[in-house]
Symmetry: C2
Subunit: 381 residues, 2 copies
């Protein structure tokens, strides 16, 4: 019996002041919930999404067999985050393009589509918006907040912005901030989008076009950084898409045709992404990644930055993840330990690079399952 | 007293059959030489260039103080490759855009500029063309061939295509072939160029435009892969270009303005590159990188592939080079050792990533200097 997901939307009229000083006068958030909130409202788990995901975390939509949520292997009945025991909430972040207010929506102040005028939102802003949704759902305290990558940054930020509202936090394949190299990859992707003639300064909706060229390049760059060198070699290696018969090398000797399997894979991923993802959202979300840096206000001292946290933590990293390497997770672990916080840390030996956090890895899932088991026992006691 | 370089050009009328089967009916090669060929013509050293370099290896042009060759710290009077002892030859490769026949030149068969019709050239083709230039210069045997990165692939290929003509080969920061990840980065760069509306199917010259957007993106991606994560963090870290006064974070909260120093650096590098480099050449040279794979004809067996080599080898790699990692150099070393070849190998602990091969590193230069000292003693004996 599959978990059936039902997307919901909630509107907020109270203005939300953003970190930048800008104010969202009103906005809506798309969300889904799975499982049942218990009587004392102590079993809620918030799942935070990363770059291109959404509130559709788990289950499928009625009558759409292949509409699994992005973390369906992790969240559901009997899964590591067990919806038979927890009330799980997935929220689409502000500025995204899957139902929550974002660049494709109308700015109530001007009556025009926001486009590139949508204000820059940060991890902290998302957490504030998520907290308001939980208020509306009557959830004062989270049993746990959990996320991978950019989602892990939100989970970490929850423990600093609302320390009394988070009992546990799972920060997966994440980092206390981006390195210069991470920012560099984001910037190239943004430049590819912004310099696409179809971007029209972010007002492409009015021109009836989409900056697909830029989105494709952005996604191709992203995909390279999500995978490990090893897994790329194993999956694609130097295999040709179709060797030319009668050629000693099998090469077509072309600079523009697809020659290697890896090229075909990347082009396909780029095409698919450019069909559904909003270009302005891509800019906003990569900027939120760039900006997150809780230690900045403490002269780079992460120990002081994490002092407010009260939650019990689970940190997980993956050996071949070079985008958010284990060393970055260990920085968080060390700073939490220095604050005498309760931290579990697992470094999973996995070949899949950053993508590993989304994949069905037995050891990884066993760690998460055991950690949530402990929470469930505490929550129900 | 600076070394003064004088570019020369030589024309070839004999058709050159390329690996693809295409034929270049006639062509010219731009080259420079430094030092003096000795009486028995035994002191010639060929330097092969990588992606965006040229025949201008060393010295400066008369009256242009800041026109140093791309490997001027390595080649010159008293330098590791000492032009007081060696006759050094730099050649611009076919298909490049610095004087040798390439996409910007007129196709004698059609009377039109080649553009994207310039035939795909390979490392093996370049070596064949280089050999013809050496024939014309009266150089039968090279004291040494040397190159870094793609240039190292040419040096290695020399020892396989013309084993009797190469006494020594220095293969720096190179690899026996590209990994899937390497190809992936090349492919993204190519797609950025090809999908730039100003590319016009490679016939942009006729439209009076240059696909600068694509070239900028290509160069930005390249630069990220030339540097190490460590050196990027050290050089740029998360430093803002200019912090906004009165903002707690210093951020401008903008997705398009330059916020971090690393963004400013990458944009500058992209702009500079797009002003001088030919887009079709970029496609050709990255394809030559993709295609190089001497073991392919031997079912991937590098030991058998390198069996023809007779040269003495120097391999050098750099610890933080993730584009051509030390592991890739060690593959070559092991295959040469299995063939009982004479190999010196140095793995230099350097923070600069792939770029290290172009930089002035004392240990690296000492290794190269000592190796050429030994050659010089042999050559002059």
């Amino acid at each position: 019996m599959r978990l059936i997901a039902t997307p919901q939307t909630m509107s907020f009229q109270a203005p939300l002041r953003l970190q930048s000083g800008a104010v969202l006068r009103d906005y809506q958030l798309a969300f889904e919930t799975y499982g049942t909130l218990n009587a004392d409202r102590s079993n809620a788990v918030l799942i935070c999404h990363a770059l291109n995901a959404s509130h559709h975390v788990a289950g499928v939509y009625e009558g759409q067999a292949r509409s699994e949520g992005w973390w369906d292997n992790m969240v559901g009945p009997g899964k590591p985050v067990d919806t038979d025991r927890f009330f799980v909430v997935g929220i689409n972040n502000l500025g995204s393009c899957f139902g929550s207010t974002g660049p494709m929506h109308v700015n109530p102040d001007t009556g025009r589509i926001y486009g590139a005028d949508f204000p820059v939102v940060t991890v902290e802003d998302w957490v504030n918006a998520q907290a308001r949704l939980l208020d509306a759902l009557g959830i004062e305290t989270l049993a746990a907040v959990m996320g991978g990558s950019l989602g892990g940054m939100q989970a970490l930020s929850w423990t600093l912005q609302y320390p009394e509202r988070v009992r546990h936090a799972a920060v997966i394949a994440s980092a206390p901030n981006l390195t210069a190299e991470n920012i560099a990859f984001n910037e190239v992707a943004r430049r590819a989008i912004v310099t696409d003639p179809d971007f029209h300064g972010g007002r492409f909706y009015e021109h009836g076009v989409v900056p697909k060229r830029g989105l494709r390049i952005a996604r191709m760059i992203g995909h390279i950084t999500y995978l490990s060198d090893d897994v790329m070699n194993e999956k694609f290696g130097r295999t040709l898409r179709e060797a030319v018969a009668g050629s000693a090398t099998g090469y077509k000797y072309s600079t523009q045709e697809v020659e290697f399997q890896i090229e075909s894979y990347l082009r396909y991923q780029g095409d698919k992404f450019s069909d559904y993802f909003d270009a302005n959202t891509y800019l906003l979300i990569t900027r939120a990644l760039d900006y997150f840096d809780p230690a900045a206000a403490f002269d780079g001292d992460l120990v002081r930055a994490l002092a407010p946290a009260r939650a019990r933590f689970l940190l997980v990293s993956f050996t071949t993840d070079w985008r958010f390497s284990p060393a970055r997770s260990r920085e968080i672990v060390r700073a939490l330990v220095a604050n005498q916080r309760d931290v579990s840390y697992a470094e999973i030996d996995a070949p899949h690079g950053h993508d590993a956090f989304l994949l069905d890895d037995a050891r990884y899932h066993a760690v998460v399952r055991a950690w949530f088991e402990r929470i469930a026992r505490g929550a129900q006691a």
